[in-house]
Symmetry: C2
Subunit: 231 residues, 2 copies
């Protein structure tokens, strides 16, 4: 039987690729999505479709309203920055930063991993071509792995957790190429921080800009734009 793993799945480009990688590495991937009050809640619907398309072993959606304790442009606390070039992104921490988001998400993943008897947790954190979030850096992830082994019954009993961040050192173009090679249909993903009806990407937020740069550098047309008649 395949070893179980928990894969944080937002429904975006990065985490969809991570789900495909976890599957390719032979894990029975249990996808975990979080509905936290994000304005781009279409992510959750996309996550469900990706789970079916990529064949995850299970899917859990945790509901938690972070709007009071962690307001952000992503949860409606101010405007999503638009029109910044890819060169400006990653200079400083942007308004779309959600306080402690990855710590909250990884703590949910840790809880589910312990419940499932899984020791492997996958996250789509990416230190290159990223948006300047402190909780996407390798030393942060190493600190969480250390914490996980102290935090849990499993850790106390000597079973070690591993935090896998297979995209950590990849460019967005490399991520896109890897995902395409693994059969990810990126038309099913959503990256936009402020999407319109049916998930139509705004084309102007940091996340849309990084996605566009990644597809351009990979020399691949983004099938999501084609779907909206923009390719």
């Amino acid at each position: 039987m395949a070893k179980p793993a928990v894969v944080l799945l937002s429904g975006g480009l990065d985490s969809a690729t991570v789900l495909a990688i976890a599957k390719a590495e032979g894990f029975a991937a249990h996808a975990l999505s979080v509905r936290y009050g994000q304005r781009h809640a279409i992510e959750i619907a996309r996550a469900g479709a990706l789970v079916r398309a990529l064949g995850a072993a299970g899917h859990a959606v945790v509901d938690v309203d972070l709007r009071v304790i962690a307001p952000s442009a992503l949860t409606g606390g101010g405007a999503v920055p638009k029109g910044r070039g890819a060169g400006e992104i990653g200079q400083g921490i942007p308004a779309t930063y959600v306080p402690a988001r990855n710590t909250i998400f990884l703590s949910f993943a840790l809880a589910w991993a312990e419940t499932l008897g899984a020791r492997d947790i996958f996250i789509g954190a990416n230190a290159l071509d990223y948006s300047g979030y402190p909780d996407c850096r390798p030393d942060y992830l190493a600190a969480f792995e250390r914490l996980a082994n102290l935090a849990t019954k499993a850790g106390a009993e000597g079973r070690r957790f591993s935090i896998h961040a297979p995209l950590i050192a990849m460019t967005k173009a490399e991520i896109v190429r890897r995902g395409v090679a693994l059969g990810v249909d990126y038309a099913m993903t959503t990256s936009c921080y402020d999407p319109g009806a049916n998930g139509r990407p705004c084309g102007a937020c940091d996340s849309c800009a990084l996605r566009a740069k990644g597809f351009a550098e990979a020399g691949i047309k983004d099938p999501l734009l084609a779907k909206f008649g923009r390719a």
Copy 2:
């Protein structure tokens, strides 16, 4: 103006004492409670009453349903152990263990602390007279503090977080005496894992047993039992 701090407040004996300690240390205490599917949800009502009685600067309640990702006897996944003597408690990790609970709670506290501009987080973890939970140990709390400083914008900018666990080395009797000295009305708290109507303590779970032992050793009558005609 008093320095802000976030205090995790379950409505139990320990966290009520911690709230009083944070206040006594001069912090503007922002109490944070979590409704996570616990069968003893009366905790949240008690937390609200304690916030008013002890004069917290604010109170937030985060709703998150942990029953799927972190089932436990506390969330209805099996029976709460009853009738264990205080001597048996703390031998091994009990059925009331909720996977990664303190990691989840501390990650919420970290998010709110960053949002409030607070650098101090208080938690009622207790390594003596405790129930055998791995996420109540000093080395776990030190690892979380290290993580907090890597996880956040505030940490990246050089503002350091501190995790305060003032009860960590206290016996339950010492906690009770300290709280009484600070004016905590323990009749307003609830400790029972499986309370009856109006929060009537079962008197038989580990938490009731530890509470009874603490009051007995402190030589103080538990006003909660008096309230239910049991003193």
